[in-house]
């Protein structure tokens, strides 16, 4: 390394050129210009000129005919849509790089402790190969609101239902006139101990009946013993017609899995769940009259999960997809820094009896600070330009809630807005935001050349 630096310092094409005559020197310059010409032409025409053009264009109105000074820039902070884009970009720039650097650091440290580190790194780095478009489709699919399509909501709903239970009959209603509905959505009727009661329900399609539901008529005629309260909850509907309302006709099915409570003086004294034929039985009741209640939880609409791509959660959801893509990058870059740490510092700390957390907190993180900064800054630069992911994942109506500078610049200039003055100003704003990175790069390069 020192040898090459030395060589580089002496190397000046100038020194090489002096050995030759003036004519051959001119010839050498001409050849050199031929070598750089294609690159300079393309950079000049398609990068440098457009930057200057955009800066100039941003001072003109939508049609480009009238000079408006800084109006487009003032408009940017007045127009609610661009203001929203600026706000969302700020959220992105603060949240995404911090999460990625943190997650990358944790994973880089942990993965060193397992034997399959390489396989794990490969797996997490792979999304870097996937286009934002494909990642967008992947996550549109994963975030789907319908728990029967989106894997995320499927997980959320099954966790929710495991803790809260599911309601079996969201559409069921009590037969009017035979059952009383309370304002909370529960149904009730009254019966005395020692009697059998029937609770007719409607509004359940025969195809929605749980599998294994059996006809209720046998249970309905069963006599209750003393201190016992029996009953059936059944679907008061005979397939093919012919049944009588309020009676348990032979073909009518019980509603299994329905929660039933016996209530007396406002207190629930017993509760049970109906069997396959819709029957239930309370025993050991004192004589008297009870309210038989079907609580509202039987009829609650099913839990539909989280609206990931709704207006409030859409930006966090898209940041989630971004994490999927970039975590591997952060982890590998930080991992490279980690392997360059002086081993003896870590070993010495271990010998002194420091635990893993102390080593991480007091030694690893401070020593890694330069690498973490590089990762963070790189991510900030990339996050500011995020476009495809937002454009693809946010569904049409939510697009304006998710908009960021790059998508807003696109919409304003080309996607219907057709205000190329404001669009150019947004482009210039994007450029201004990366200028610190530009200065940093140039400085670092000049230092490395000294």
């Amino acid at each position: 390394m020192t040898a090459t630096t030395l060589v580089k310092q002496q190397a000046g094409p100038r020194a090489a050129g002096e050995a030759r005559g003036r004519r051959s020197r001119r010839r050498a310059r001409l050849i050199a210009l031929l070598f750089v010409f294609p690159a300079l032409l393309l950079l000049g025409a398609l990068v440098v000129y457009p930057v200057l053009f955009s800066v100039g264009r941003s001072f003109f109105d939508a049609s480009g005919t009238r000079f408006v000074g800084g109006d487009n820039y003032a408009e940017m902070f007045r127009d609610p849509a661009t203001l929203k884009a600026i706000r969302n970009t700020a959220i992105w720039v603060v949240v995404a790089p911090s999460l990625l650097t943190g997650l990358g650091l944790i994973l880089a440290v942990l993965v060193e402790k397992v034997r399959w580190a390489t396989a794990f790194k490969l797996l997490l780095f792979m999304p870097m190969a996937v286009s934002f478009l494909a990642a967008g489709i992947i996550f549109r699919l994963a975030y789907d609101q319908d728990p029967n399509k989106g894997v995320l909501n499927a997980a959320v709903v099954s966790v929710h239902d495991a803790f809260e239970g599911t309601s079996s009959y969201p559409t069921a209603r009590g037969r009017q006139g035979l059952l009383t509905q309370d304002h909370d959505g529960s149904y009730r009727t009254t019966a005395a101990a020692g009697h059998t009661v029937t609770l007719p329900m409607v509004g359940v399609l025969p195809k929605d009946l749980p599998k294994g539901a059996e006809p209720a008529d046998a249970a309905a005629s069963r006599k209750a013993g003393p201190g016992e309260l029996r009953g059936v909850v059944y679907l008061d509907f005979t397939p093919g017609g012919g049944g009588r309302q309020g009676r348990v006709d032979p073909k009518e099915s019980g509603l299994p899995g329905m929660q039933v409570q016996a209530v007396r003086d406002g207190h629930t004294v017993a509760s049970t769940t109906t069997a396959a034929d819709g029957s239930f039985r309370f025993s050991g009741l004192r004589a008297g009259s009870y309210t038989v209640k079907l609580p509202e939880s039987n009829f609650a609409p099913p839990y539909q999960g989280v609206s990931w791509l709704g207006p409030t959660l859409v930006t966090p959801a898209i940041i989630g997809a971004y994490l999927w893509i970039w975590t591997g990058f952060a982890m590998v870059l930080i991992g490279a820094g980690l392997s360059a740490l002086p081993r003896d510092a870590l070993e010495a700390a271990r010998m002194d009896g420091a635990n893993e957390w102390q080593i991480f907190r007091r030694i690893t993180v401070p020593l890694l600070a330069p690498v973490l900064t590089v990762v963070f800054v790189t991510l900030v630069i990339n996050v500011m330009k995020v476009f495809d992911l937002v454009y693809i994942i946010a569904p049409g109506p939510v697009q304006e809630d998710a908009t960021v500078l790059a998508t807003q610049m696109w919409l304003v200039s080309f996607g219907g807005g057709n205000n190329q003055g404001l669009g150019s100003a947004l482009g210039v704003l994007l450029l201004l935001l990366v200028i610190p990175a530009m200065v940093f790069n140039v400085r670092r390069f000049r230092r490395s050349q000294r």
Binding site: V7, K8, A11, P13, A16, R29, I31, A32, L33, F35, P38, A39, L40, L43, L46, V47, Y49, P50, F53, S54, R57, L110, K113, V114, L122, L124, F125, P127, M128, A129, V130, S131, L133, I138, F139, R140, L141, A142, P147, N148, K149, V151, V332, L333, F387, Y391, P395, A406, M409, W410, S413, F414, G427, L430, L431, V434, A437, M438, V442, F445
Partner: protein, 283 residues
């Protein structure tokens, strides 16, 4: 006693670490698996239930969507357009940047230093700022809506990083090597093709992979500069995203087709890939 405790604690900790990493790995794999499995299911099955139901009824899986995709002329056209854009855009960037990189490293010409600093400054220029002016320029030149237009834009915006990377790599070559070649009377062109390019192969490989990936995966540039006959896969798929939900049987296999090429490149050239992405991440 204490050390035994520590050993137990460490073993337990390691088990926890392993479990945590396995969970993270599964979380990372699931969305991709979801896309792949979805790409093998009919629209009717997808409407009925999630892709995970195939675990219990694998009969839903078939390659019908893919054979339909191959018969879909819009998709196949878009696939070839992607190839016709990515391959020249990669080749041109490598060739132009290698020439310029060599000149910036070893040849003498006026304004060499300030011009290279300009290249370094251009590293982070966002493509967004170029869209509108270049669209006007291409419109005037008749390049708007054509594959060469898309390619040229990609080449121009790939160049700062490419020149930067190759110039720095070439500059590390020992001076004696070049002097010796010049003493032997080799022309600059000969030195470039016979000496510089072979020596620079690792950097060129990383650059080529990075640039290929960048162009293959691009949507923004093609969205503006390509028309319906020259649009790549990303834009073709994007144009169908509005009907998301009803056309998963087209979108999922299409997305998978578009991502399988870079993923194969990734696994085939892991080292160059990671180096290229790391070096190019400043872009």
């Amino acid at each position: 006693m204490n050390s035994a405790m520590n050993a137990i604690r460490r073993g337990l900790g390691n088990g926890l670490v392993q479990a945590f990493l396995v969970v993270i790995g599964l979380v990372w794999l699931t969305p991709l698996a979801g896309l792949f499995v979805s790409s093998l299911r009919s629209a009717q099955d997808t409407a009925k239930g999630g892709w995970w139901t195939t675990l219990t009824s694998p009969g839903q899986l078939s390659f019908d969507n893919y054979s339909a995709l191959l018969k879909n002329s819009g998709m196949t056209q878009a696939f070839w357009n992607t190839v016709l854009i990515s391959v020249p855009a990669t080749t041109l960037v490598v060739v132009i940047a290698a020439l310029a990189g060599y000149a910036f490293a070893w040849l003498d010409f006026p304004l060499r230093e300030p011009l290279f600093l300009l290249v370094v400054a251009l590293l982070v220029v966002p493509v967004q700022i170029g869209l509108l002016p270049v669209a006007k320029l291409f419109g005037a030149l008749g390049l708007f809506g054509t594959i060469p237009g898309v390619v040229l834009f990609h080449v121009a915006y790939g160049l700062p990083f490419a020149v930067f990377l190759l110039r720095n790599y070439f500059a590390e070559m020992p001076k004696e090597m070049l002097e010796a070649a010049r003493m032997d009377g080799g022309s600059e062109w000969r030195i470039f093709t016979r000496l510089v390019l072979p020596v620079g192969r690792p950097a060129i490989a990383s650059l080529a992979i990075f640039q290929f990936l960048w162009v293959w995966n691009d949507m923004l540039v093609a969205l503006l500069f390509a028309d319906s006959s020259s649009q790549p896969l990303t834009v073709e798929l994007q144009s169908q995203i509005r009907q998301f939900g009803s056309n998963i049987d087209v979108l999922a296999p299409g997305a998978f087709l578009s991502l399988i090429v870079p993923v194969v490149v990734f696994f085939a050239f892991q080292r160059h890939f990671v180096q290229g992405v790391m070096a190019g991440s400043v872009k």
